[in-house]
Amino acid sequence: MSSLILTVRESIRYRGRSGQYSWMAHRISGLAILFFLVIHVWDTANAYFWPQAYAWSLALFKNPLFGLGEVGVMAAVLYHAFNGIRITILDFKPEWWRHQRASSLIVWGLFFIAFIPAAILMLGSMIGHCQALAAAGDNCLRIPSFSEFAQYAR
């Protein structure tokens, strides 16, 4: 009964309500953030240990594909943070768990209020960046080459 596939399948099939969806979104957003975070921390440490690689990666991350990923990370961070605070507050005052459904919906609401403007700003600046590069005869989908950052080598 404890097999992973069965559990995941039944978690999706069981007709849970807002609490179950909040839990799923919290898990998925947490894993997404962690995956990004580990890469981010090890990459940023290169600022000291391998500056050429770091400068190259910063240029690479301006690619719109990574830009979309960043919007995804923003969504994951905002949802995970707001829902996490909801859980912390309700755990602190157990009798407030009777307001579970309302609190879940408030979190979704706050999430959209924060995320939609953020996404618009981020996508807007991505598009602006691509247009600026196109105007200069370059292409924002181009993968930069490592040697372009030789001046940062230690």
């Binding site: 961070v77 605070i85 981020m122 960046h129």
Partner: protein, 136 residues
Amino acid sequence: MAALTEKPTGKMTVRLVELDRSPERIGWLFMRLSGVAMLILAVGHMVIQHILNSSTDLTLQFVAVQWSSWGWKAYDIFLLWMAIPHGIRGLLTILKDYIHSPALGRIIGILLALFVIATVIWATIAIALFDPAMVP
């Protein structure tokens, strides 16, 4: 094993219990405390890097300007010490849900703990020793 005292306060009886400090309980508290800290630090970091600035302006020069102040270095180091353990503990929670062999669970716990220590130390050294003067 544990102590018990009676302390009636008002109309409802409240009693004190003393329990051994289990690692689960410390982990449970840490997730919430670090989570609250990161509400400010992590969301703040995202807002600063992606909203107040644009990620298209993010260059090594930008980082050098930020990390020329010990305030920003301390902010990032503290965020690192909150985020990596919080995230890896979350991963461990999910893995422990599905991995039932105690031996395998212990091995994974140790490997993840080593990963946390290595990551946190590596990145802390990087931030602390980073010298903006190195950047052309």
